[in-house]
């Protein structure tokens, strides 16, 4: 059942911000979001990244969101309402923040679903701030300054670098926790630089990135053959452990090394879409010029990121966006832009090319763009990379973890067989010492 009245949107005002409102944002990629929190806090916003998990989150989501809506919406909104209901926050001094992309996928409706849920829960007074770069909704109490935007972009670059290297070092580290330590140390260093207004120019980034790469390269490792798995999918389910039933922990427990393509590619994809739109259908040349400049800026950042990692032959640097893009030429059109669009297909191919061709393709159950870009393209990808070993996994409140893990295990069994053929050595299987991370 639904509400009868449709009130005006509650704005997040200057006064609210002055009064020290807590702004809650759902968590996604932990390394990135630790920095994100810092950027907001140092810019005068009392941001808190939600980490609450557990069955209550899903229950709240099921209760307040249409159950056929995609799983990320259900989780994110469930997580927020669970937090609001927890008693931890003063409901008269709390606001919510959520990203809004504005694409043709239903994901652009999350913010409206969140407001509906708040109304249903009798908390319609809580302001919801849209975090977007398209000027979709304005709030007098919150503005993304140019400084913040630059820091956020830098945060994506640093976050991607650390995430990539962490994932490549951690499975082989001699001392458990060594890779995590590098992440923690560098996160602190970078946040301090952000405070001082540093760490955002290309030069400073180059310096930081090579520092990060060097720190990871210095972690003592013991190499042994491990199945290399790539993870792609709908952006939330791909990164958020809440969304994918702790997929990364599971893969680690199975003795795998995994690669999850970074957020930078997605950011560039979103900008590039505007260019592609104009190329395909015609449109405003001024807009084209602006986006081209933005694209150049991001490409320059990406170049630094790749260069820093490439210095160390033991690491696999991510492919350049333009290269990844070139892989899908003739496979799927660049006009397929909703959700993760052609990028999802391209990432699977990129992973196959980089030696991570055992792929878990994650999506919320019934994810519309992934019918096309994920499941719809697997057959084609396998024609091009016959060794690609892809398993699509659906996530929703009723999919059980046992089922999901069983399917992934099938993919891994085939992968281990192939790896054993290549190396003549039995690859790492399930790891007893890390079993505590798996709660079956």
């Amino acid at each position: 059942m639904s509400e009868k009245k449709r009130p005006e949107r509650v704005e997040y005002t200057k006064e609210m911000n002055k009064a020290g409102y807590t702004i809650l944002i759902p968590s996604m990629a932990p390394i990135h979001f630790a920095m994100l929190r810092y950027i907001f806090r140092s810019s005068g916003y009392n941001l808190e990244v939600l980490e609450n998990q557990g069955p209550e989150v899903v229950q709240e989501g099921l209760k307040y969101v249409h159950n056929d809506t995609c799983y990320p919406a259900l989780l994110v909104i469930g997580q927020m309402l669970d937090a609001l209901h927890s008693g931890k926050y003063d409901l008269q001094k709390t606001a919510l923040m959520i990203t809004q992309t504005g694409g043709g996928c239903r994901a652009s409706n999350y913010i409206f679903l969140l407001r509906k849920a708040l109304r249903k829960a009798g908390m319609a007074h809580i302001p919801v701030i849209s975090l977007n770069l398209s000027g979709l909704e304005k709030n007098s109490g919150f503005t993304l300054s140019l400084g913040m935007i630059r820091k956020l972009v830098a945060c994506v670059v640093y976050g991607d670098a650390m995430m990539q290297l962490f994932n490549q070092v951690r499975p082989y580290e001699c001392a458990q926790g060594a890779a995590q330590k590098v992440v923690d140390q560098w996160t602190e260093v970078i946040c301090k630089q952000f405070d001082a207004g540093k760490g955002i120019s290309i030069g400073q980034m180059r310096e930081n990135l090579s520092g990060i790469a060097a720190a990871f390269a210095a972690v003592p490792v013991k190499k042994r053959p491990r199945v290399r798995v790539g993870v792609v999918g709908e952006i939330y389910v791909k990164y958020a452990s809440l969304g994918n039933n702790n997929l990364e922990d599971f893969l680690r427990s199975q003795g795998c090394e995994y690669m999850v393509p970074g957020i930078m590619g997605f950011a560039m994809f979103k900008v590039d879409n505007r260019l592609e739109d104009i190329k395909l259908y015609g449109g405003n040349p001024a807009k084209y010029a602006v986006c081209t400049v933005l694209m150049k800026y991001l490409t320059a950042m990406e170049r630094e990121l790749i260069a820093a990692i490439r210095k160390y032959p033991q690491f696999v640097p991510p492919s350049a966006y333009q290269h990844t893009k070139s892989l899908v030429k003739g496979v799927i059109g660049y006009g397929s832009k909703m959700g993760e669009g052609w990028l999802l297909t391209a990432e699977m191919m990129e992973l196959a090319e980089l030696g991570y061709g055992n792929v878990v393709c994650t999506q919320p159950f019934g994810c519309l763009p992934n019918h096309i870009n994920g499941k719809g393209m697997i057959r084609r990808i396998k024609e091009i990379y016959p060794s690609a070993n892809i398993v699509p996994i659906d996530y929703d409140p009723s999919a059980t973890r046992v089922n999901q893990e069983n399917r992934i295990k099938l993919m891994l069994a085939v992968a281990r067989e192939e790896l054993a053929k290549e190396t003549g050595e039995a690859p790492a299987a399930e790891e007893a010492e890390e079993k505590e991370t798996v709660t079956l």
């Binding site: 059942m1 639904s2 509400e3 009868k4 449709r6 557990g54 069955p55 229950q59 099921l62 209760k63 307040y64 249409h66 056929d68 809506t69 995609c70 504005g102 043709g104 996928c105 239903r106 409706n109 409206f112 407001r115 739109d277 395909l280 259908y281 015609g282 449109g283 059109g333 397929s336 959700g339 019934g366 519309l368 763009p369 992934n370 019918h371 096309i372 499941k375 719809g376 393209m377 697997i378 057959r379 396998k382 016959p386 659906d394 929703d396 409140p397 009723s398 059980t400 046992v402 089922n403 069983n406 295990k409 099938l410 069994a413 085939v414 067989e417 399930e430 079993k435 709660t439 079956l440």
Partner: protein, 987 residues
């Protein structure tokens, strides 16, 4: 060293022991009834003591239910599909494909030409569990089912996605008298289709095929069914049950410490960590007080033997049970009967009447009414006076117990019906859509699986200390959750309580979608057999925080309501003043001589050629079912003059091919092409192409393309596109035009004008998954009709890739004509809509805006719902016929899809038109409609209008849809009568 392989599946456990020469020393196959660790331990002990006799052996576990256990007990595990592959490699070299059906899994392995292994996704349709469910529904064993399938003469189309969908198809077939043999064969056909549609994903199953697993081993007709559809003869090899276990055995390495493993298994009780919810009752006293409170709501009773006046009969021929009551003329209960319905309600009603006449040969029946799935057939078979829709029956009964009732919830065998009552009329109806989780049969399934009767099982939960939080989900998934909970140490009591609570949560949050109990109102009557279950009743009250009324005849309310209806109807018409009034129900003599014959025939009156089931009863009365229209019954042409869906179809079909110098170009009629046909037809005809469209969809067309569908959860209209493109290609079309379109035309009704991702990009899926599409010129370029100025130039670039010599000038002219034609088409739709509305108003008919997407006009997609509405006496128009009346207005969501903006506009417009009502068609799996349905409902409810939603999929049966529509009409009637009465009282 010996090798032990264990395959712990979802329902069975299989074990083999191999010697050094790979001979099978021991094998065992048994159901484990969810006692997984216990049975495994038992088996191992048996193997150790009787087979090994001190010899060393390796041990490997496989199977979906064995994974967690193996991990916790440190026993090597191998994934079951992988194990199958290992076994097939050894035992049947040269095998091309393996089809393995298990309890809850279906697997398909391609071994040659690129290894591929597939398992069913998050849906368990088409597996052993499904076959078991269907056998239970027919009240036979799976083996009987197989035998019966061998005697079939014809098959019906049964949705195969999931047991629930299939039930929706099967139950009415049975109720309408279809032969069980034919249904059995149809069930196997459904399994085959599900396996192919769900798993083949664009790859043809061919060559040497192995059939493995329980169902395929035990059911030879199922194998035949696969053979027939695949066009080959598959092999069910020796040891077909043990392939996984054998594969596991062969994966074994190193000596296992069997005794240690047995001990570990014995000690393995799970972590005891599962989510817990508060108990239902703290104490026995609580329960006593609770029971006493509820037994207060009892119906007055008399004795049939003593009754001298006229009596009334109420019949509820439900999907799984048949309920009958006899009342006196004041509604006092004299006699009742509750029978399980094994598919055909006719003998049950005959039995009831015979018993009644035996008890009281002199009985004076004044009138009777029948409701439920079997309403129509019972009415014609026995001459029952009234037939009423279930919702009305239940409401009538509920009012008797609580005159001020404002919410009724009925949980039956596989239906949940809820309705809100406002001003004495049904204001809003909620039915469970194609999902039976949370119904009576759901609890029953679990009770039986765990070896209890439903009653005992439910009572176990009353005093459970730590009920398991199972959430609310599909029966099959619930199975896994229950198993998980068991592994984690939950007791049967805790599980029973958890399931009862899950039933309630499902009803509240999935069917009613309530966030707050206050939304349901203060006066709630609960009914249906499921509420006899105190655990469910208690959970319901706890979840809502209100005390509700459960009548002592909760399970008979439909029948009781029907009897009351007959009484009230007599009172209204004044017929009750006639002491000699007699019901048309067959008398003692006629019941004695009653006979019933069933015949299956093909209609043949129109190209649909429906398969009809003709029931002939004694006295020559006939009842025909299986028809999509009234023609075989009334022998009259269906009147389409007030049906805009039909008009649209005819209009679109009038765009006939015009031979042209540039040859033929094919357009698949669905998704983004459907409504744009006037545009593209004009465009290409002007350019000198002969535009050939694919025909209207039908079952055969769907089957033609189903093996290339990569994602089994995509919507049905998208799945049909495979058939459309295949059909065009099979007809020799060498160029197919099916463009990608991120954007649709901007109608200025929303903030943007996207297509949904599936409508936008489905051509990419066809191109990548249909090998035949690569043999022709398949044009899937991205086209932007919204950029009218840029369109000709962009289109020239696109066409230049495929054709020489088409000038920009030509294209400009063609596109101008095309845009014009499209505008004219839309205008014609609106004009015809206006005309239908005018005619309907003149004739005093109701107007239904059947709102969906343009491609819902395809009869295979809408299953003839438009005609059904017409047959119920209303006029049908489309959303786009009225959306043009509105300007853009603010809505509570991001209004960014062209087709969906029309829905919001149509809803807003209808809210101002008292004689119009909106029925929304929603495709199963349409993610976007999760958003639009709530918003359309909000828009209508703001103006206190009734919202009706119909979910459509492959399901072809219209029974449930009819209930919805009739309930809607009954509600509108009541509201209007209420309004009139108020008006009069003001005067």
């Amino acid at each position: 060293m010996l090798k032990i392989g264990l395959d712990v599946g979802s329902t069975t456990i299989k074990c083999v022991v191999l010697d050094e020469g790979d001979n099978i020393l021991f094998s065992d196959y048994q159901r484990h009834y969810s006692q997984i660790t216990g049975k495994t331990g038992e088996l191992l002990r048996q193997v150790r003591d009787q087979v090994l006799e001190g010899r060393p052996a390796s041990l490997t576990i496989s199977g979906s239910a064995g994974m967690g256990m193996a991990q916790s007990c440190g026993i090597p595990f191998v994934q079951e599909v992988y194990a199958t592959r290992v076994a097939a490699g050894r035992l049947a070299p040269g095998t091309d494909a393996v089809i393995e059906l298990g309890g809850e899994d279906a697997k398909l392995l391609f071994l040659t030409d690129g290894l591929e292994v597939r398992m069913n996704g998050s849906c368990a349709g088409g597996t052993g569990a499904f076959i078991d469910q269907m056998a239970t529904l027919l009240k036979v064993t799976p083996a009987d089912l197989d035998r019966m399938a061998g005697e079939a003469q014809r098959t019906y189309t049964i949705a195969s996605r999931c047991g629930v969908f299939a039930k929706t198809d099967i139950q009415p077939l049975l109720n309408q008298g279809a032969k069980k043999e034919d249904v059995a064969a149809s069930i196997f056909g459904a399994v085959v289709n599900q396996t192919i549609a769900g798993l083949a994903q664009g790859r043809r199953i061919q060559g040497k095929v192995l059939y493995l697993g329980g169902p395929l081993t035990f059911l030879p007709r199922l194998r035949e069914s696969f053979d027939r559809t695949l066009g080959l003869t598959g092999l069910c090899p020796e040891n077909s049950l043990y392939y996984v276990a054998l594969g596991a055995a062969w994966c074994g390495e190193g000596e296992a410490q069997i005794s240690e493993s047995i001990e570990k298994l014995a000690a393995y009780r799970g972590q005891g960590e599962y989510a817990v919810i508060p108990p239902l009752f703290e104490s026995r006293e609580d329960h006593r007080a609770f029971t006493q409170r509820h037994w207060r709501h009892a119906v007055p009773c008399g004795r049939l033997e003593d009754e001298t006046g006229p009596v009334y009969i109420g019949i509820d021929a439900g999907s799984t049970t048949v309920k009958t009551v006899v009342t006196d003329q004041r509604g006092g209960m004299l006699y009742s009967k509750y029978q399980q319905n094994s598919g055909n309600p006719i003998p049950l009603i005959r039995e009831f009447l015979r018993e009644l006449y035996e008890l009281r040969p002199d009985i004076h029946i004044a009138a009777g009414a029948v409701t439920g799935y079997g309403e129509e057939i019972i009415r014609s078979a026995f001459g029952v006076d009234h037939g009423i829709v279930e919702t009305v029956a239940h409401f009538t009964a509920a009012k008797q117990f609580m005159p001020e009732v404002d919410f009724v919830i009925d949980i039956g065998g596989q239906d949940i019906k809820c309705f809100k009552i406002k001003n004495g009329a049904i204001d809003n109806i909620f039915l469970n859509e194609a999902c039976s989780s949370g119904c009576g049969s759901f609890l029953q399934t679990f009770a039986e699986a765990l070896g209890y009767s439903i009653q005992d099982f439910a009572n176990l939960g009353l005093f459970a200390k730590r009920p398991v939080d199972l959430g609310s989900r599909c029966t099959v998934f619930m199975n896994s959750s229950v198993k998980q909970a068991q592994k984690d140490g939950a007791s049967v009591e805790d599980i029973s309580a958890g399931l009862s609570i899950s039933v309630v949560k499902n009803a509240l949050y999935k069917v009613i979608r309530a966030a707050d109990p206050s939304e349901l109102g203060r006066h709630i009557v609960v009914q249906g057999g499921t509420f006899y279950n105190d655990a469910v009743l208690r959970a319901f009250e706890q979840e809502l925080g209100v005390e509700v009324v459960r009548p002592n005849i909760a399970g008979l309310m439909g029948a009781y309501g029907a009897a009351l209806y007959a009484i009230q109807s007599d009172a209204l018409s004044g017929r009750d003043r006639d002491p000699n009034r007699r019901s048309g129900i067959l008398g003692p003599k006629e019941i004695q001589d009653f006979h019933h014959k069933v015949q299956g025939v093909n209609c043949g009156l129109c190209p649909n050629n429906c398969r009809l089931t003709v029931n002939t009863f004694s006295g020559g009365r006939r009842y025909i079912s299986g028809n999509r229209c009234e023609r075989p019954v009334t022998h009259r042409e269906a009147d389409d003059s007030l049906n805009l869906y039909q008009w649209k179809l005819q209009k679109l079909q009038s765009y006939a091919p015009v031979p042209g110098p540039r040859g033929k170009i094919g357009l698949p009629m669905g998704l983004n092409i459907f409504e744009l046909l006037p545009f593209w037809h004009t465009f290409f005809t002007r350019l000198g192409f002969e535009v050939v469209t694919s025909p209207l969809s039908d079952r055969d067309l769907y089957l033609l393309g189903q093996h290339t569908i990569p994602s089994d959860t995509v919507c049905f209209p998208a799945k049909l596109m495979h058939g459309h493109v295949e059909t065009l290609i099979s007809r020799g079309i060498k160029s197919v035009f099916y463009p990608c379109m991120s954007y649709n035309l901007d109608e200025d009704l929303g903030d943007n004008h996207y297509n949904c991702p599936v409508v936008a990009y489905y051509p990419e899926v066809i191109r990548s998954n249909m090998p035949e599409a690569r043999e022709v010129t398949f044009i899937t370029d991205y086209v932007g009709l919204h950029q009218r100025r840029h369109f000709p130039r962009k289109m020239a670039e696109i066409l230049a890739q495929y054709y020489d010599g088409i000038t920009l000038r030509e294209i400009k002219e063609a596109s101008d004509a095309a845009y014009r034609e499209y505008e004219e088409y839309l205008a014609a739709v609106r004009a015809q809509g206006e005309e239908i509305i005018r005619l309907a108003r003149e004739a005093g008919k109701r107007i239904i805006v059947l709102a969906g997407r343009p491609y819902h006009a395809d009869p295979e997609v809408n299953h003839g719902i438009d005609k059904l509405i017409i047959s119920l006496g209303a006029a049908v128009v489309t959303e786009d016929a009225v959306s043009g009346h509105m300007q853009k207005f603010p809505v509570g969501v991001l209004n960014q899809w062209t087709y969906h903006s029309r829905l919001y506009a149509a809803a807003r417009y209808i809210a101002t038109q008292p004689d119009m009502n909106l029925v929304q068609l929603v495709s199963f799996g349409c993610g976007v409609d999760a958003i639009t349905t709530d918003e359309v409902r909000d828009i209508l409810e703001e103006e206190h209008r009734i919202y009706t939603q119909i979910k459509i999929d492959e399901i072809t049966n219209l029974g449930a849809v009819k209930i919805r529509l009739r309930s809607l009409f009954a509600a509108i009637d009541q509201q209007q009568a209420e309004a009139k009465r108020e008006e009069l009282s003001h005067v």
